[in-house]
Symmetry: C2
Subunit: 233 residues, 2 copies
């Protein structure tokens, strides 16, 4: 028994979710059923389910059951959209421009994205917060995994929900690297600031439930009236 039994249970469930057998929001078998199916004790199945819950992959509710995590617009906004008012209030961004193209992958894109794709989709969007254009987002996706996404335009405001519902990719984690930059001519025009004005640049690599890097995203924010909030632990 090279690996713990509960790991086998976890792998089984994650595989079923990845394969689409268990849909987001759907209910899992109960602890007892799962235990019988996989041939472990109820306590072991329970441990696996609790670990999946801690990784945010399932949600458990006493008396109701265990469900595959479904990112709602709310939770998605809350988890991965980090801009807040100075007092901490969450902001609802409005989409004011969107452009989707397919193009060959750059070297770093091919190296960092899942399956080393030759071709990628690039989604460029400008958002307005509180009436003024304040963010430029460029998301880059491996084309094989997101085939036909350009025909779904206009895309919903929260891309991660689209990824989940239409491509089975549940985004659970993202690494970000943040810099302050001076606005170039393009950014200045799009965000209506002077050239050289300080802007926040966030580069993100997002991973799905199977740990696959499925999206590179570069966001440029005006933070004169806003904050980018994170928690460290």
């Amino acid at each position: 028994m090279g690996q713990p039994l509960y790991q086998k249970v976890i792998d089984t469930i994650v595989a079923r979710i990845g394969a689409g057998e268990l849909l987001a929001g759907g209910m899992l078998p109960s602890e007892t059923q799962l235990a019988a199916e996989i041939g472990v004790s109820q306590g072991t199945a329970r441990k696996a389910l609790m670990m999946l819950e801690q990784h945010g992959i399932v949600r458990r509710e006493q008396g109701r059951g265990t469900f595959v995590t479904a990112r709602t617009p709310e939770s998605s906004l809350f988890n991965f959209f980090r801009l807040r008012e100075d007092d901490g209030t969450i902001i609802r961004p409005e989409l004011i421009e969107e452009k989707i193209i397919q193009r060959p992958a750059s070297d770093t894109e091919r190296k960092t994205l899942f399956e080393k794709p030759e071709s990628v989709y690039e989604i460029r969007r400008i958002r307005s917060l509180k009436g003024a254009a304040s963010t430029i987002e460029t998301a880059v996706l491996p084309a094989p995994l997101f085939a036909g996404i350009e025909r779904r335009a206009p895309l919903p405001s929260a891309l991660y929900i689209l990824y989940q519902q239409n491509y089975g990719c549940i985004v659970l984690r993202a690494d970000e690297s943040i810099k302050a930059i001076a606005a170039g001519p393009d950014e200045a025009r799009a965000l209506k600031v002077e050239e050289g004005a300080p802007l926040l640049r966030v580069e993100r690599l997002a991973y799905d439930i199977l740990g696959r890097p499925i999206e590179r995203r570069r966001s440029i924010y005006r933070t004169d009236q806003l904050n980018y909030k994170v928690t460290l632990d």
Copy 2:
């Protein structure tokens, strides 16, 4: 039994750590001893210890025992010092200037810091990374909790280790709010950049093991050659 038994175990241990009965790095009683002491089964004590481990409060090692988390310079640097080279390499900051003063608390400081202190310590430090001055840090601490800290100057590079070893405050979590700002005259002079150059400003509120807000910190970074890295989940 309003609350679960394992919670009682957790509270007991956290209280002992907070009271200094269990020192950072010290070994806890074994599962069996703890269970007998508090009057629960070994499995319940075990659950409590596992939860404490997940919160980063203790570290467990098979065959050796359970130990109170001691932040080493390494781990502290890794967890709360977020500046990295563009390629992700960690940076070792050098201290080049330090000033500690005691002064009355501002309104927001009194409101947000533990015990609503009338008086605070302010630690202002400038660090150089890769030879060039690149960060200005201002930490504000409630004076009652950190009495006499000004006499410990010069302070170690990693303040959180000092807080732990000398004041029993183990920092486990911090909320940050990040902005891009234009360098003012003071920042420009200290960091040797032009006025108006883009800088990263990070405002942090750090909480200790008991959930007490014990430090406000404002850091200003040059990010022309560096990145601020975070992980979302």
